[in-house]
């Protein structure tokens, strides 16, 4: 699917984001971290729906959700109200979910707002806070297992739901939107989007003004694009069913499957949760959140352009992955070669990650290595291609390479390269230079330093003559 606007297609997204930086669940004091935990260890009367238990709102969850709303430029409600969404499901301990609602008097945390893509503004409809259901697992296959097993560790973990207007017109845009949203969430530090199921997405799509189809269960950003592309083609060929159809994305087969949901199951009987008083969001809280707002991807991109003279496109790509942008800044802190390093990170590292379907945050490469490589290339110790090869090696093996750079360097007889090394050694060893100016014997020490900086690869004769010439200039 190309990026050209497809005016026949309308796509809206519903993104669920775990607030993974929280220590506790949304309405109880159970630890919120459910990754790699024994089943049903982080449970209490509240998140197990035991009779008589009552919810108490996690203040920090409100702050994190508020930060998201403000980052997206949403209108924050003066007070937010929790609603009960009533439906029966084995993963829902109370058989209702405490959520928010924007109809029948409901007041979600925030409404409106937008995310700017390169050539598109995507409007946000609402942002709300809600609890996650438990996790259902099957022994063996979902279709043959005679029973379901429920793990309530995830039950009650805080989720922020972000709903867009149907402004997206291509599956690729949908992916770009999610990428941008993800970068914002990561910069806010509220969601570690790498964690399994930390960011989940439902999509609704209509083609040529036809009926709306909802696609659920989309696990990854790539799948969002795939599932939507499949739906666009399917709907263009077959049309959509009357009424609202819900389809499941089967990522193994790469198709969407219709769910024959009984119509009556859609009646969620939303009504206010009387156990939670309406939460007043004060001006002070908003001001405090704004004051603590970290630099967001767009601002960071603009700063990269200004501060490091990066091309817009490069700055955009770097800042749409927080860990990549961080790696970039840490590397150039060690050795300031912004263009070269940006280029490497984007074309080599990101290209590698995309091929392997890995996330930048999984990279183990040290900024010191990137800096050393860039310097080695700049100084002519190794050529550009060798530098890139070493970079990829470091990225794939996760091993430090700073010391190995010289193994790749053959005898250095090139005078220009040696001059560059000598310049650096002179700059970094002012005292040794002074000594050499006074005492000729001390020249050997300088030669030794240059040899060391090159891993012993420079021609000693040429090195001596370059040093002597330089000393002569100085004296």
């Amino acid at each position: 699917m190309d990026a050209k606007e497809d005016l026949d297609v309308k796509i809206g997204l519903e993104v669920h984001c775990h607030l993974t930086s929280l220590k506790t669940k949304l309405f109880c004091r159970c630890p919120a971290d459910y990754y790699n935990k024994e089943p049903n260890t982080n449970i209490c009367p509240v998140c197990m729906g035991l009779p008589g238990s009552l919810p108490v709102l996690n203040e920090q969850a409100v702050k994190h959700a508020l930060a998201i709303a403000l980052a997206l430029g949403s209108r924050v409600s003066q007070k937010m109200v929790f609603y009960r969404k009533n439906y029966f499901y084995p993963d829902l301990p109370k058989n209702f979910q405490i959520s928010q609602y924007d109809k029948v008097g409901g007041l979600p945390l925030a409404t409106g707002g937008q995310i700017r893509l390169k050539d598109k503004v995507v409007r946000i409809r609402r942002i709300q806070l809600e609890e996650d259901p438990a996790k259902i697992v099957y022994e063996g296959s979902i279709s043959t297992s005679p029973y379901a097993l429920v793990d309530y560790n995830r039950s009650g973990v805080a989720l922020v739901e972000i709903v867009t207007e149907p402004d997206l017109t291509t599956p690729k845009q949908a992916r770009q939107f999610l990428q941008k949203l993800r970068a914002i969430l990561e910069h806010l530090g509220v969601c570690n989007c790498d964690l399994e199921a930390a960011l989940r997405c439902d999509a609704n799509i209509s083609v040529r003004g036809g009926y709306r189809v909802e696609i659920k269960n989309i696990g990854s950003f790539k799948d969002v694009e795939k599932a939507l592309s499949f739906e666009v083609t399917r709907q263009k060929m077959l049309g959509a069913k009357r009424g609202m159809e819900t389809r499941h994305w089967d990522d193994v087969r790469g198709v969407t499957i219709s769910l024959r949901v009984k119509e009556e199951e859609q009646d969620y009987r939303y009504f206010p949760e009387a156990d939670l008083p309406p939460y007043i969001i004060t001006e002070d809280l908003i001001a405090e959140t704004l004051a603590a707002m970290p630099e967001l991807p767009d601002a960071r991109r603009d700063r990269f352009i200004k501060q490091y003279n990066l091309p817009h496109q490069a700055a955009e790509i770097l800042t749409s992955h927080k860990s990549l942008a961080d790696l970039f800044e840490k590397s150039i802190e060690k050795y300031r070669s912004p263009l070269r390093i940006a280029n490497w990170l984007i074309s080599d590292i990101l290209g590698y990650l995309n091929r392997k379907d890995l996330d930048p945050s999984t990279l183990k490469i040290a900024p010191e290595d990137i800096a050393a490589l860039a310097r080695a290339v700049d100084e002519g110790l190794i050529n550009e291609q060798t530098g890139r090869n070493l970079l990829l090696k470091a990225a794939t093996t996760g091993k430090r390479i700073e010391q190995k750079i010289f193994a790749e360097v053959s005898k250095i007889g090139d005078e220009a390269t040696i001059k560059a090394l000598v310049d650096r050694v002179f700059k970094e060893n002012e005292k040794a230079v002074k000594d050499a100016l006074k005492n000729e014997k001390a020249i050997n020490y300088l030669i030794g330093l240059v040899m060391k900086a090159s891993g012993g690869k420079t021609d000693p004769h040429i090195t001596r003559s370059v040093i002597v010439a330089k000393l002569k200039q100085l004296s």
Binding site: N40, L50, L57, D151, P277
Partner: protein
């Protein structure tokens, strides 16, 4: 005048499905009669002019109630102990339809 509402057997069965209570035909018939009578009594509220009135969901206003993000783990095994059907530490449930 208050409206007259009838909650027929099929409507009762639909409600029973929504709230997952299995009803026999006989029960549904009996309940239909009882609920219809009660609903017609409820229609009395139509007589009240509520235009311009806000609903009152919480009897008293309480501002802002929240807690800090500090964990206090609960002894999970005390809860697992009372689960009727288990498989290891998992709660066992019938499969999804």
């Amino acid at each position: 005048m208050p409206k007259r509402t009838k909650l027929g057997v099929s409507a009762v069965k639909h409600l029973a499905w929504l709230t997952r209570i299995d009803l026999t035909d006989k029960e549904a018939k009996e309940i239909s009669k009882q609920l219809t009578k009660i609903l017609n009594y409820f229609s009395k509220i139509d007589e009240v002019d509520t235009s311009g009135v806000e609903p009152l969901y919480h009897p008293l206003e309480i501002g802002k109630v929240s807690r800090s993000d500090e964990p206090t783990p609960f002894p999970a095994d005390e809860i697992l102990k009372i689960v009727p059907s288990r498989k290891g530490r998992y709660v066992k449930a019938p499969r999804i339809a």
